[in-house]
């Protein structure tokens, strides 16, 4: 098994979640993410968190590997949460300086923000780790089929999505290599203030962008050489098949939503 699970990487296993139809999983993920924005009490957030734990268990992928998926986003989460704490108002004020303050509402909002980041990233990782990217693209294309009638290039968008997800692990690996190379040349990423740290990001992202453009150019040539023509009709290796367990999964999502509504109504 890949020991470097990152956001977007597919882990081939024979778990109940792997067996679900990609459309069911995509619908469940989108549904769950929307539901997350309706949860802001201990009960509702806990309810959705339990559902996520169940999904993680059913994926048969160890929890520590999901943590590896979240780890690259830790700084983004911390910085966003810090802004939320410092620039939110309302409730009891604990500290105040100029236009910055720490209030009880700000603290609660930042906690909710951290929670939402973590559960959304993890739910997306459950989806991508249990679904091959081409199947995900098929599901995307299948669910958005009606948009084809208003000339939206759904198939192209689906392939773009699939390739983007397919390249996430590659780009992450290259980013780690660039960071290691910069460290070897004396760069200290953990030193200095916020601005200094942001400044350190530049020598990582410039070579990363260069590499990414190189990859995209090479991939485009390789795809063309293998007969890909944008917009041309294609057959599908994996046929999406909706089965009984997919319907059961959707029923469970309805139950999850009903539970969320009840908790919001009676235990808020």
């Amino acid at each position: 098994m890949n020991s470097q699970l990152v956001f977007g990487a597919y882990i081939p296993l024979a778990s109940p979640l792997h067996r679900l139809d990609a459309r069911a999983k995509l619908l469940m993920c989108v549904w769950y993410v929307i539901a997350v924005f309706f949860a802001y009490t201990w009960w509702t957030t806990g309810w959705l968190f339990l559902a996520l734990l169940a999904a993680i268990y059913l994926s048969r992928i160890p929890v520590k590997m999901y943590w590896r998926g979240i780890r690259p986003f830790v700084w983004v989460i911390i910085i966003t949460a810090a802004f939320q704490v410092l620039f939110s108002s309302g409730g009891q004020t604990y500290w105040h300086w100029g236009w910055m303050s720490i209030t009880s509402d700000g603290l609660v909002n930042s906690l909710i923000l951290i929670y939402r980041f973590i559960v959304i990233i993890t739910a997306s990782t459950v989806l991508t780790a249990t679904t091959p990217t081409l199947q995900l693209a098929q599901a995307f294309s299948s669910l958005l089929t009606p948009l084809k009638y208003i000339h939206i290039p759904v198939d192209k968008m689906a392939l773009m999505l699939s390739i983007a997800l397919r390249f996430v692990p590659t780009i992450m690996t290259e980013m780690h290599q660039i960071i290691d190379a910069q460290k070897m040349r004396g760069m200290h990423f953990n030193q200095g203030g916020l601005l200094a740290r942001l400044h350190h990001v530049l020598p990582i992202f410039i070579p990363l962008f260069v590499d990414s453009f190189q990859h995209s150019e090479e991939l485009a040539v390789a795809m063309e050489a293998r007969g890909y023509v944008a917009g041309a009709p294609r057959t599908q290796f994996r046929q999406l098949r909706w089965k009984g367990h997919d319907t059961i999964a959707m029923v469970l999502m309805v139950a999850l939503t009903v539970g969320l509504v009840l908790l919001r109504t009676y235990l808020s």
Binding site: N2, A9, Y10, I11, P12, P132, T133, L134, S162, I163, L165, R166, P169, T170, Q214, H215, E218, L219, V221, A222, M223, E224, A225, R226, G227, Y228, V229, A232, P233, R234, T235, Q236, F237, R238, Q239
Partner: protein, 277 residues
């Protein structure tokens, strides 16, 4: 039978000052293994792109089988020519090995129920069937290139082109790819291989040496590689046998004038040392 005929082909990249390839004439026969050698910037990759229809000649004519390479025939050219590139990591679209092999078949609109048999056959040819459910990103470089070859073989090309496909691999993986290519040639596939390694080029039937966009030499591989000045000029990676003979020459020991493969060099050395086994 000629599968490739190129007459007086030149190519200049848009906006470039110099010509990348000048007045090239080339004939490749069916079932032949052609090694294209030359320094970086000699025009090897440009030739590959022209032969596979990824670029069109500025002047001159290229025929693949009976099809002229032009913008009207690109689909037919892509059906006849398969290409494996240098960087294995940048060629994969699928999230599993089987899905990646299927990508080209999907583009060709091969019916879904026919795909599993084709995928199985091609992955067995490159000895990667057991990895069919594995993510290509987790494979070694040599395994990735074998999958890339399987993905191309699935499309049943008449000509397989490898553009420095072994340059990022370790010696063992390079040897595995070479063994695979020799097997494929024995099955009748026409192969064009761009390489910097003499140990690979020596396994070809013919060699084409390019320098600054022009043909330096072309002919049977031993005849081309026996031109020592040419080999030095191209700065190729010497095969172990050739390296040994060069060292002996520097010590003043006379060695054969013609190019010897590593096996031939070993035989020659055994005779010189009067070894019977």
């Amino acid at each position: 039978m000629n599968v490739i005929e190129a007459h007086d082909v030149s190519f200049t990249y848009p906006g470039a000052n110099g010509t990348a390839l000048r007045n090239l004439d080339l004939i490749v026969k069916a079932g032949e293994l052609l090694a294209v050698i030359g320094q970086n910037g000699s025009g090897k990759s440009t030739l590959v792109q022209l032969l596979s229809g990824l670029q069109l000649p500025s002047t001159g004519l290229i025929n693949i089988g009976n099809t002229e390479v032009n913008d009207r025939n690109l689909a037919s050219i892509h059906q006849q020519v398969g290409i494996v590139f240098q960087n294995p990591g940048s060629q994969f679209v699928g999230s599993t090995v089987a899905e990646d092999v299927a990508f080209g078949l999907e583009n060709r609109q091969v019916p879904s129920d026919e795909m599993p048999a084709i995928i199985k056959r091609c992955l067995q040819v490159v000895d990667m069937w057991e990895y069919r459910h594995t993510s290509p990103a987790t494979l070694s470089g040599g395994q990735q290139q074998r999958v890339a070859i399987a993905s191309v073989l699935a499309l049943q090309p008449k000509i397989l082109i490898l553009d420095e496909a072994t340059s990022m691999l370790d010696p063992l993986a390079r040897q595995q790819i070479m063994n695979l290519l020799v097997n494929l040639r024995q099955q009748g596939l026409t192969i064009i291989m761009v390489t910097h390694h003499l140990s690979e080029a020596e396994q070809a039937d013919r060699a084409l040496a390019l320098n600054n966009g022009e043909v330096l030499a072309e002919g049977p591989v031993h005849a081309v590689l026996s031109q020592q000045k040419l080999v030095q000029q191209l700065e190729l990676h010497l095969a172990p046998g050739e390296h040994l003979l060069n060292q002996l020459q520097q010590l003043g020991i006379s060695t054969p004038d013609r190019y010897l493969t590593t096996e031939e060099a070993v035989q020659w050395l055994k005779q010189r040392l009067n070894l019977t086994q």
